[in-house]
């Protein structure tokens, strides 16, 4: 069983990065968060459009996304900023959610602390202290079984289901053999191959939950009164040769290997089990929301399989882009990390492609920067909505 060098947290979780997170509690605190993060070495802001005028079930999901992101093992310390007195989700509520992880937390309230300038002042001083405090943390050896490996696909084309996704599934199997866990979301893209997934379910209850999740997502599509083609598959999926959601799904579920599906999770919910294997999560095919839900569930690393090439990168969860389309790799050489198109040209076998993906994941777990991390293109934080703004 192999090991990696990571940041061991007080609760036993192990991070592969040691980020100082500046977390915005509401849309109206985004400006302060960005200003603080601009000033402090290594600080990463998470900003978003939520936190105000949401119905309760929707606000609960937002809270899971925000608190979960801060609880992610890749975060070493967090400064939370909110603007006045939110009902149902204050900075203190978020701090309470995060507190069991034992990591340093500070909260700032823009009105309570005397306005924008004073809030920036206070938050920047907290952030400076935390940045220096966590700079003392050193990487230590930890087993690969500590890794929760998220996987996503986006801007898929027909190469995805034939090369990058099955290679990724094999990479997941290599991790699972060492005691690790793999997480896949995007239940829109299980439509049409539910039977493959229910056959892998570790229990009838998990199988039932998978079917119910797909049914719920399909009902959302049906309620729109329109054919989902155009949004699922997306226009670029269809340009790439994918004709229907069923065809897209078959390629998409190849992202996980053949190991049992241990647990089914609600969106942005952390696994309750530690058994090695595959884990599935309810959620949309929308990439930024999906990968943010997996970061909130605790994934330290994510592979993003893409046929057409993709720019997605999460602010605190390294996002490794893998393609089976050689042209996309050439066009997106500064953005896409791994090219497994060799399987089509008899240069490598699918098994070798799986090992190539796994090796990249292991390197990134040890600190190797992804291409998008090096570019600081942290574009993919988004929160799934389950209710309207009111």
């Amino acid at each position: 069983m192999s090991e990696f060098l990571g940041y061991v947290r007080p609760n036993g979780d192990v991070g592969i990065r040691n980020h100082l997170l500046i977390l915005s509690g509401t849309v109206y605190a985004n400006g302060v968060c960005e200003r603080v993060a601009d000033t402090i070495h290594g600080a990463v802001p998470i900003t978003h459009a939520n936190g105000r005028c949401q119905v309760a079930p929707d606000l609960r999901v937002t809270r899971r996304f925000l608190a979960g992101s801060a609880m992610n093992p890749n975060v070493g310390a967090v400064v939370i900023v909110d603007h006045f007195r939110e009902e149902g989700m204050t900075a203190e509520d978020l701090a309470d959610d995060i507190a069991p992880t034992g990591k340093p937390i500070a909260t700032v309230n823009i009105r309570g602390d005397g306005g924008f300038i004073s809030a920036v002042d206070k938050a920047t001083r907290y952030a400076q202290d935390f940045a220096r405090q966590i700079s003392l943390d050193a990487r230590e050896a930890a087993p690969m079984s500590k890794i929760l490996f998220g996987t996503e696909c986006g801007t898929s084309d027909t190469t995805s289901g034939l090369a990058s996704n099955p290679a990724n599934g094999l990479a997941g199997e290599i991790l699972i053999a060492q005691g690790g866990r793999m997480l896949m979301a995007e239940c829109t893209e299980w439509m049409g191959c539910e039977n493959w997934l229910t056959d892998q379910a570790a229990s009838p209850a998990v199988a039932q939950a998978i079917l119910a999740g797909v049914q719920h997502m399909e009902a959302r599509a049906l309620a729109s009164g329109e054919d989902i083609r155009g949004s699922q598959p997306t226009g670029d999926n269809m340009a790439g040769g994918l004709s229907t959601i069923e065809e897209k799904s078959m390629g998409a579920v190849k992202k996980i290997g053949d190991s049992p599906i241990v647990e089914y999770l609600e969106i942005a919910e952390a696994p309750t089990k530690t058994e090695p294997g595959n884990y599935l999560m309810y959620g949309p095919g929308m990439g930024a929301e999906s990968i943010s839900s997996m970061a909130a569930a605790g994934c330290q690393v994510l592979t993003f399989c893409t046929g057409g090439g993709h720019t997605s990168n999460h602010p605190i969860m390294p996002t490794i882009k893998v393609t089976g389309n050689r042209q996309s790799f050439e066009l997106m050489r500064d953005t896409v990390d791994v090219d497994v198109s060799g399987v089509f040209y008899d240069e490598i076998t699918l098994a070798e492609a799986g090992q190539i993906v796994y090796d990249e994941v292991e390197r990134v777990c040890n600190g190797y920067l992804t291409k998008s991390e090096a570019l600081r293109d942290n574009n993919s934080f988004a929160i799934h909505r389950v209710g309207p703004s009111i």
Partner: protein, 104 residues
């Protein structure tokens, strides 16, 4: 000879993952159907699908051995198979709406 990729032996479509196929090209298959050869009746772009046999309107279009939809018209062996001649059977809010209207 140009080749398309066939995932599962019962599939009635193959995918152009090596190079685009041009009208009149003789096309072989790798993957599960190396025995099969067809003549392309249309331009098949990179990543797109070609019919490996005649598929009648209403027949199931198979890839990975599973349904990716239903043929919305007769498709001849060698033709391009895509959204213009395959209908999805899932997530069809447009059909759900039509049914609701019919029920009234």
């Amino acid at each position: 000879m140009k080749k398309v990729f066939v995932v599962y032996a019962t599939d009635n479509v193959g995918t152009a993952v090596l190079e685009p196929i041009h009208t009149g090209d003789h096309v072989g298959c790798n993957g599960e159907r190396s025995d099969l050869e067809v003549i392309a009746l249309a331009e098949i772009a990179y990543g797109h699908k070609i019919a490996l046999m005649d598929i009648a309107q209403g027949d199931t279009v198979l890839k990975y051995g599973l349904s990716i939809g239903t043929a919305s018209c007769d498709i001849k062996e060698g033709e391009h198979v895509h959204a213009h001649n395959v209908e999805s059977n899932r997530g069809r809010g447009d059909l759900a709406d039509r049914k609701a209207v019919t029920a009234e």
